[in-house]
């Protein structure tokens, strides 16, 4: 089952390589990963979705903890949390089908961010399922190109990430 981890790291060069390196060295697969500075620029937060076997989950957390630059690791998999991805989707759509497309996009609260003869670009946020559903719809209209961030997540309710966690987490996606 995919596991969502929120990892607070020191904002230093090479840290991302350490994290991704430890996953590849131990054969764990990363599905998506986003990273950005926290409110305190000395730290960054990495949100990652990894697909590992149930019995390996704890080992993944421990291996992350073992890294000197990792300050905190939170497993959000079983915690109520808001999880979002953002996608920019360009659809090569014939002019006559455009308005129907926009109607359908509206259902997903996708926003038009660019339009040109023969194409339209949408911005959409949501969880992975919603994005997948939208994609399936859009594929009927023409060729689709997409840039998509990985998941970012915050626990629900007043519970906050213990350090710098209330900060904005800009989505600089390097996943998928």
């Amino acid at each position: 089952m995919p596991q969502t981890l929120s990892v607070l790291v020191e904002n230093k060069s090479g840290v991302l390589a350490r994290i991704s390196g430890l996953f590849s060295a131990r054969g764990f697969n990363i599905e998506s990963l986003t990273v950005a500075k926290t409110m305190d620029p000395k730290f960054s937060r990495i949100t990652m979705v990894v697909d590992v076997a149930e019995e390996t989950r704890e080992q993944v957390l421990k291996q992350l903890h073992k890294q000197i630059n990792v300050v905190q690791v939170l497993d959000l998999t079983d915690t109520p949390a808001v999880q979002r991805e953002l996608a920019l989707i360009k659809v090569h759509v014939p002019h006559e089908m455009r308005s129907r497309l926009l109607q359908e996009a509206e259902i997903f609260r996708a926003k038009v961010v660019d339009a040109a003869p023969g194409s339209i670009t949408l911005e959409v946020t949501g969880d992975g399922d919603k994005l997948e559903a939208l994609l399936r719809v859009l594929e009927h209209y023409g060729r689709v190109e997409m840039a998509r961030t990985g998941t970012v997540a915050l626990p629900r309710g007043a519970a906050s990430l213990p350090r710098n966690g209330s900060g904005r987490m800009a989505m600089v996606g390097v996943g998928k």
Partner: protein
């Protein structure tokens, strides 16, 4: 001060009085300043890999951080095996490497290599210093990280302009690493639970390893064993943590370990695992391991808990601190009816059972007088040094026979490439150990294969007048690979024979040390003693019986109870439909 002087000042403050290395282009500024700083002694070796092995040997023998240095590019890449070795065996080493100037990094400059990238996975941590102001902080952190928690190697990559730049020296008083706070104190509740679990057990064993030695906790382990009157099995890395002649010592564990040690691991109902990591060489087939036993796991590394084997009572902390508390609690409850008196009779009977196994199946071989049996060589060395020398080894048959036959009495006197199993470790590690302990006798036991990987270091030994005694168990084969080909590949030898070996007498003469060759068993004792009593270095080439196999042996991927006691048992079992094939499981692969 310039960066090189700052670095030297930092090394002095960290108490690093000695370093092993080889200079090169970008580190010339450092070596220039070294001339003015005799308080940091530099030992010039013949290969960077050996600089790292020597620093590792120094660290194991002394308990201090070993330091090595190499230039950028090839110097740095040559450290990789040494760093991995230190990483696998949790040895505190700080490696300093030169790097091209920061403005050239990434340009494929002459002797440039992505050192931090290459060494990321074989160091506990590494640094590329890009700002001279950070240098003192980085060096401070490097030593701190190397020696604390679960120790390990830390590399600091130093661009040339950092070594030549000018800055004010400011020594950081404290180390602040928000992501690194090793747990030292064991959890009191867990310790209580552990003691309760111990008193509930009827057939407990202690399974102890290198973590006991690195925590300087051997006396506490001994106290634990004596308080409980429980047999102690030691891993290869743990040899010396309890004296081999101690009545509770139950032998080495694992693939080529003692029958009694492995049998006890099968029959036990409680493993008290101290400073170990449940390595595949010890556990054998994981599914069959400790099926009926509860496990108390004491270790400094949280990631080791539950990695291979579940732990019923995990205790994370400094092994010494945890043992202190545990022993106190045991002493308090030893006489209590609900405590130590419970099951006491069963535990006494268990100890007798274990001792019966020891008597039944000691390490054994058939001696001959027409050739030197390798086991005989190690027995003779053991007899002559009587536990009072530092012994280093490479990897392979000679390593296993040394572990079986050379009796260790003290911690930090058995230096072997355990986790990585690297050939060529023994001789440079002996060099490091001899610098750490100038008054101790240092004996390097190597095979003819591994020796040829570290042969140039004979020059270092002679240049520094180190009285190291090298014994080559020479069978003209890569012996352990040959053994596997013999047992598991129907005796089809492939690329394992060394038909040529230099004459040790002439080799010695060429390098300037005494060399001798022994092939007659009648002369063996005399040769071993004369080497050990020589005030200088001696190279002794012992021509041993060529095709001996190491037993007992738990076949790779097999369960501990599948142990082959001897050649006959192995052949009989392997002739039957083989339950085990070479490389049939990840854990079973030899290399």
């Amino acid at each position: 001060m310039n960066g090189s002087e700052i670095l030297l000042e930092c090394l002095r403050r960290e108490g690093a009085g000695i370093m092993f290395g080889i200079p090169g282009g970008v580190v010339i500024p450092f070596y220039d300043k070294l001339v003015d700083h005799p308080e940091v002694r530099h030992i010039l070796v013949r290969h960077e890999e050996n600089a790292c092995f020597a620093a590792d040997g120094f660290a194991r023998a002394s308990g201090r951080v070993g330091v090595c240095m190499a230039t950028s590019g090839p110097g740095a890449t040559n450290l990789v095996t040494g760093l991995t070795n230190a990483m696998m065996d949790s040895i505190p080493v700080v490696a300093l490497t030169g790097q091209v100037s920061t403005n050239l990094i990434g340009n494929d400059a002459f002797q440039e290599a992505d050192t931090v990238g290459i060494t990321r996975s074989c160091t506990k941590h590494n640094y590329l210093v890009k700002d001279l102001k950070e240098l003192p902080q980085v060096i401070r952190e490097a030593f701190y990280i190397a020696r604390t928690g679960r120790p390990g190697p830390v590399l600091v990559d130093l661009p040339k302009n950092i070594l030549t730049g000018e800055a004010e020296f400011e020594y950081p008083e404290t180390v602040s690493l928000p992501g690194y706070r090793p747990t030292t104190e064991g959890h009191d509740g867990q310790i209580k639970k552990a003691v309760q679990t111990i008193w509930e057990s009827c057939r407990p064993v202690i399974y102890a390893g290198g973590g006991v030695i690195s925590a300087n906790a051997a006396p506490l382990l001994r106290q634990l064993a004596e308080l409980l009157d429980v047999p102690v099995g030691l891993t290869l890395m743990g040899l010396g943590a309890l004296p081999a002649d101690h009545p509770l010592f139950n032998g080495m564990l694992g693939m080529h370990g003692a029958y009694s040690a492995n049998r006890a691991m099968v029959e036990t109902d409680l493993m008290i695992a101290v400073g170990v990591r449940f390595d595949d060489r010890v556990t054998g087939k994981l599914e069959a391991f400790a099926r009926h036993a509860r496990i108390i796991h004491i270790d400094s590394a949280p990631a080791e808990i539950g990695k291979n084997v579940r732990a019923d009572v995990p205790i994370v902390g400094d092994v010494g601190r945890v043992l202190e508390k545990l022993n106190r609690r045991i002493a308090e409850t030893r006489e209590a009816p609900a405590g130590g008196l419970k099951n006491a009779a069963s535990r006494r009977a268990w100890l007798e059972t274990v001792r019966g196994w020891q008597r039944e199946h000691p390490f054994a071989y058939e001696d001959r007088n027409d050739r030197i049996m390798p086991q005989r060589l190690f027995q003779e060395i053991s007899r002559a040094i009587d536990g009072e020398a530092i012994v280093t080894t490479d990897v392979g048959q000679h390593q296993m026979w040394s572990a079986q036959w050379i009796k260790r009495r003290h911690p930090r006197t058995w230096l072997t490439s355990g986790g990585l199993g690297s050939m060529g470790y023994g001789v440079p590690a002996a060099i490091g150990a001899q610098f750490a302990c100038p008054d101790q006798r240092v004996v390097a036991v190597v095979g003819d294969g591994g020796f040829q990987m570290s042969l140039p270091e004979l020059a270092t030994i002679v240049a520094y007048g180190l009285p190291i005694k090298i014994f080559i168990s020479n069978n003209g084969f890569l012996g352990m690979v040959r053994q596997w080909q013999d047992l598991f590949c129907h005796g089809r030898y492939s690329a394992v024979e060394f038909p040529i070996f230099p004459d040790a007498r002439k080799l010695g003469e060429a390098f300037g040390l005494r060399g001798q060759v022994v092939s007659d068993p009648a002369e063996l004792r005399e040769a071993v003693e004369s080497a050990l009593n020589d005030p200088g270095p001696v190279l002794t080439d012992v021509r041993v019986s060529r095709e001996e196999n190491v037993f007992p042996m738990v076949p790779a991927g097999g369960a501990l109870q599948d142990i082959f006691l001897d050649e006959q048992a192995a052949r009989a079992s392997l002739a039957a439909p083989a339950p085990v094939a070479v490389g049939d499981s990840g854990a079973g692969e030899m290399s």
